[in-house]
Amino acid sequence: MRQLSLISRRVAAVAVGLALAGGAAACGPKDSGGAKASTDAKPAKGGTLYVLNNQAQEDFDPARLYTSGGGNVPSLVYRTLTTRTRANGAEGSKVAADLATNTGEPSKDATVWTYHLKDGLKYEDGSPITTADIKYGIERAFAAELSGGAPYLRDWLIGGAAYQGPYKDKNGLASVETPDARTIVFHLNKPEGEFPFLATQTSFAPVPKAKDTGTKYAEHPVSSGPYKVIKNENNGEHLVLERNPNWSEATDDQRKAYPDSIDVQSGLDQAVINQRLSTGTGKDAAAVTTDTNLGPAELAKVNGDKALASRVGTGHFGYTDYIAFNPKVKPFDNPKVRQAIAYAVNRTTVVNAVGGSSLADQATTYLPEQASFGYTPYDPFPAGKTGDPVKAKQVLAEAGYPNGITVSLTHDVTKADEQGPEVATAVQDALKAAGITVKLDGQEHKAFSEKIHNVSTEPGFFLTGWGADWPSGGPFLGPIFDGRQIVKDGSNFNNAQLDDPAVNKEIDEINKLTDLKAAAVRWGALDKKIGEQAVTVPLFHPVYKRLFGKDIKNVVISDWTGVLDISQVSVK
């Protein structure tokens, strides 16, 4: 769960051949949370929780971690100004105060945010946590040595773009003020009503300057959370966490911290993880995974086994896989062509290609089906479950191609990838019926991602997907459709290169809102408005199925992460 956005998910899916990591977890609006068997049992303190993961907790440094809501394992060690609400389902997609007394006090136009620390906050060594440490932690995230974190600080904080981190620039970042040890003030260069979401990220964790060892800090970070790092082997491959005696439940109403210690073993094959969790012998009975989904083949097995099925948690994560168009490339400059494709798409075969209806929901909206994003159902080009080739043909004829058309679809060649050949072939197969001949242009996945995120090489018709860094419409729609976020000389995510003044204006307007509920409604409306332009064809939202051990109690899967939250899990 280190990285959540598109590219990072691909990076996380490192090796070809090593099936890709589930990356995101899921939380479900429909049937969120864990299975019933475990929710009934009463959780108790004690024992050791084992976490079996595929991806190592690499770069376990608060500055380098790219997490959503502070991550799962990291959030056991790093407390941040705010954090996500540890609750099942939609409730779990809200921001909660953590180190701070509340989720933040905005100025009127949401450009200045002020936080106050709670009383009695201590590090693992007993020393007090101050806002200066939080400021230092934020500054560290700007150091080139500690690259890898999220870009928002750089984009939002005044002077962030030029700041080079505390090692090179001893003066510090002026836009983060600490008038006293308990107060911290952020000055933003534009209104950001969603700043409390940002403050959940690990870069908002305190780092005592005296204990900073630079790139080595990850080996022995100073804990502010309920657990401290006892062992960090092979760059996060094996982490052993033990209870931090200086953490106090009284200052933390989110983390439960039932187990006495937590052992995180990574680098395991996903099949092995699921195999071990399902067998559940010995220690594996007290094991969970935070990054491994049930695969299609395993699902086939689990579905036939009731006992096993009761140990599967379902999650939905805010993610959408879609067809993207670059309207600068012919014939996709013609909206009718794009619409014809939208009509022709067969979402059933597409969903089957990524593992079937248990692992993906058909999508017609760009925003995920969760209230916090502002989900508003719409389907501007109804294709039904299996596509509408007749309508598609008709629209294509209107576009001036009565005899069909030949186009090239760029996709990732990585097997079983959501942008992989199976999905591409499904699209190809469906469009054939509408008279659209699709040639497949498969690319190695690294080349693919470089190609589609560069405005000069971006193909006209390709598969891609997007997940937000926090459960809100802002990070979901902004990077993709905000015309100001078209990046000419770097990674560009505005695939459609949409620069619609009306859309831009609306985004700015919503960003000023600090009432997130009101904002969500407007994001939903904006989504619909953009959707009608047919610059994308949403295909599906992935669904996640997580297996957990026999002894696991108090399974909580929020709509924010979709993963079973290990700060809530009990093994006794």
Partner: protein, 329 residues
Amino acid sequence: MIRFLLRRTVSAAVVLLVLAVVLYAVFYLAPGDPAQLSCGPKCSPAQLVQIREQMGLNDSVYVQFWHFLQGIVTGHDYSTGTGTVHCSAPCFGQSYRTGELVSDILVAKLPATASLAIGAMVLWLLLGIGTGVLSALRRGRPTERLLTGLTLAGTATPVFIIGILLLMLFCSVLQWLPYPSYVPFTDDPQQWAWNLLLPWLALALVESAKYARLTRSSMLETLAEDHIRTFRAYGVSERAIIGRHALRAALTPVIALSALDLGTMFGGALLTESLFNVPGLGQKLVQSVELKDLPVVVGIVLVMGFAVVIANAAADVLYALADRRVVLA
């Protein structure tokens, strides 16, 4: 002997240097920006510039390669931001992606690879020599034909097919073994062996076929030699001839070949490591190639190349020890 070692060292160094140059060349031709790799997604152009500077990527290829060579010979100091960390010689640099020292990665990944390679070798030698001897003893009989068929099938089977079939059989149908998941020897020797059993078996079945054929054919070749005729003409029994004279001669190439194979196994068992999830060098290499994490790739390949070179020299020495007629040169 000393001259032999000296010459071998020089030629090994040349081979490894060429390898490093080739890799550098290949990866510099490859599209992709290491800074991007380190920076992660949504990296701003300004940030990229800083990172390039920090990683020394603005230097020319030659300068970077020179620094790399320097690091191997003299070690290297890296800034941690707050201080420096010394990477002692031979220093292969830092991972572009995670900033880990490549030497640390190598040290971390080597035990799994070594466990896999050495265990498999023991098994394949036992299986291979046993089968070879048996088929030489039973030559011309149905047993030999059966064994010949089996070994032929063995040489023809890609290791991942055998691997999948083994998984199917032992983990799914019979459920005798857990789905293999590497446990370090130092943690639990029994679990270590138990979990490596299938990968060992998969490699050994494929490899032993080769050894069985080698053993059998060199035994048969030896059996056709004049000195065997001598011992026959002196009334030495067939069993003694096979067990003492033919096997002895057959062992020489077998030992030499197994040294070579052990060397290549250190880098060559990509598929086995990948299939059975053995967190070794091969697996790491595939991942790093995919990510174009050049320092890690170069480090691992050099270690593999080194292993092969050592194995080659070892094979020659073993050969010479086993067969005194051979002069080391």
